[in-house]
Amino acid sequence: MDFGFRISPSSAVNLDNVDLEKFEELHRIEPDVYKCMACGSCSATCPAARFSGMSLRKVILALQRGKEKEALAMMKNCMLCGKCTMVCPRGINTRHLILSICRIYKEETK
């Protein structure tokens, strides 16, 4: 039946059910990932951002909220140019972090 409106599924994140096993694995090899303070410098400087929506800030956040698909879709557009590493005020080796994310979350994407 069509009532002329629909209720979209809740976008709420329930932190009780987020599986962080992979993120913990990432944290073990990239302890600095937790240092991200969501300043957005990486995304602002990213040459891929304007055309593709890539944002490392959002990737780091999405992974912690269990939104892996969203994160990995963005990551596809990264060119590994390393500009973000040069601007991160928390000194995170973001390029290395991106490679580690790819390695750990790889199977999931196929």
Partner: protein
């Protein structure tokens, strides 16, 4: 020297000022309404940024101020303005005539039960920053540690930056206190998940940012940018917290074993009472009004009345101590001026 100096409030501000005035050769009088000295710091366990035991700070101040005339359990009944001095009547019946009053009456912790949506006093597993310090000191609080402690949350800005709570100011010390307490809990319960719900993180002081980075990197404390909108209790007595994760623009929900409210610093009713008795104005933030907020923060607009510490606004311990020292020097010079 016979000049009477009356210090109202025996917290760290009053004690430090008394110690300095003793060193300068005066015999100050401390009036403290509680049965012990040290004020709020006597209730804390370890102090940021170096985790100094609060007790060490208080006991060394108490020792240095020991030669002052100290009245505990004593309040001010009334103050009369005489020609060039004040007549202070104490609740124990003693009256003192003095030309110099130092207000070191400190602050009050915001009453967290007034933020009803957070459920303090209603839900068992909701406590305040002060309750947690008390537990660190005594281990005596069945709400903490007896439960699973799998997940713990901190709510920043409780009763601060909140016009509904009639306090639009930032209390300054609670961000760093939340980070400090989060680390301390994580050290005791390494397996637990610790969340901080913040609007902004205000890490203004010496080494505060290092504390924050360490909380993130070394302790994995999760910082979620968003104000907790409501708290409810589930059937097994755990609390459910709702907020918006403003960085992703999505609502978040989490179930916690313990929720700690970072109650802010507001002007104490005891300060206001004394201010009324001495016709001192309040500033627009509710704290005692200084002659000037840049150049003369320790001067009141009234002749012979000075301020030190958190009675003029939120302050850290080192800031309070620095003001108390400045106020004692000011008083010394003021007396020298009177003697001319």
């Amino acid at each position: 020297m016979k000049e009477n100096i009356v210090i109202i409030g025996g917290g760290i501000a009053g004690l430090e000022a008394a110690a300095q005035l003793l060193d300068l050769g005066y015999k100050p009088i401390i009036i403290e309404k509680n049965d012990h000295l040290g004020g709020h710091v006597a209730d804390w366990n370890k102090l940021f940024p170096d985790m100094t035991p609060a007790n060490d700070v208080v006991s060394s101040l108490v020792a240095r101020a020991a030669d002052a005339n100290i009245f505990l359990n004593t309040e001010i009944s009334f103050v009369n303005r005489l020609n060039d001095s004040y007549n202070i009547m104490l609740s124990n019946g003693i009256s003192i005539i003095t030309r110099i009053i130092l207000l070191a009456t400190g602050f009050s912790l915001f009453d967290a039960s007034r933020k009803e949506e957070y459920g303090y006093g209603v839900y068992d597993q909701v406590i305040t920053n002060k309750d947690l310090e008390h537990w660190f000191n005594t281990g005596d609080d069945p709400r903490i540690g007896d439960c699973a402690m799998n997940a713990v949350g901190f709510v920043h800005c409780v009763g601060s930056r909140d016009e509904k709570a009639r306090n639009s100011q930032c209390s300054k010390v609670c961000c760093i206190t939340a980070v400090k307490q989060a680390i301390e809990l994580k050290q005791m319960f390494p397996e637990s998940m610790v969340y901080c719900f913040y609007m902004d993180l205000r890490m203004f002081g010496k080494k505060f940012e290092d504390f924050y980075i360490s909380a993130q990197r070394d302790y994995g404390i999760r910082f979620i940018r968003g104000r907790v909108s409501e708290v409810s209790e589930n059937i097994d007595g755990r609390v459910i917290v709702k907020a918006e994760d403003t960085l992703s623009g999505k609502p978040v929900k989490v179930t916690l074993d313990l929720l700690v409210l970072m109650a802010g610093m507001v002007c104490s009713p005891d300060s206001t009472k004394v201010a009324n008795m001495t016709s001192l104005p309040l500033d627009s933030d509710g704290f005692l009004k200084s002659r000037d907020n840049i150049a003369d923060i320790i001067d009141s607009p009234r002749e012979g009345i000075f301020y030190a510490g958190a009675c003029t606004g939120p302050k850290t311990v080192p800031e309070t101590l620095a003001e108390a020292r400045a106020a004692s020097l000011k008083i010394h010079l003021y007396i020298k001026g009177l003697e001319k």
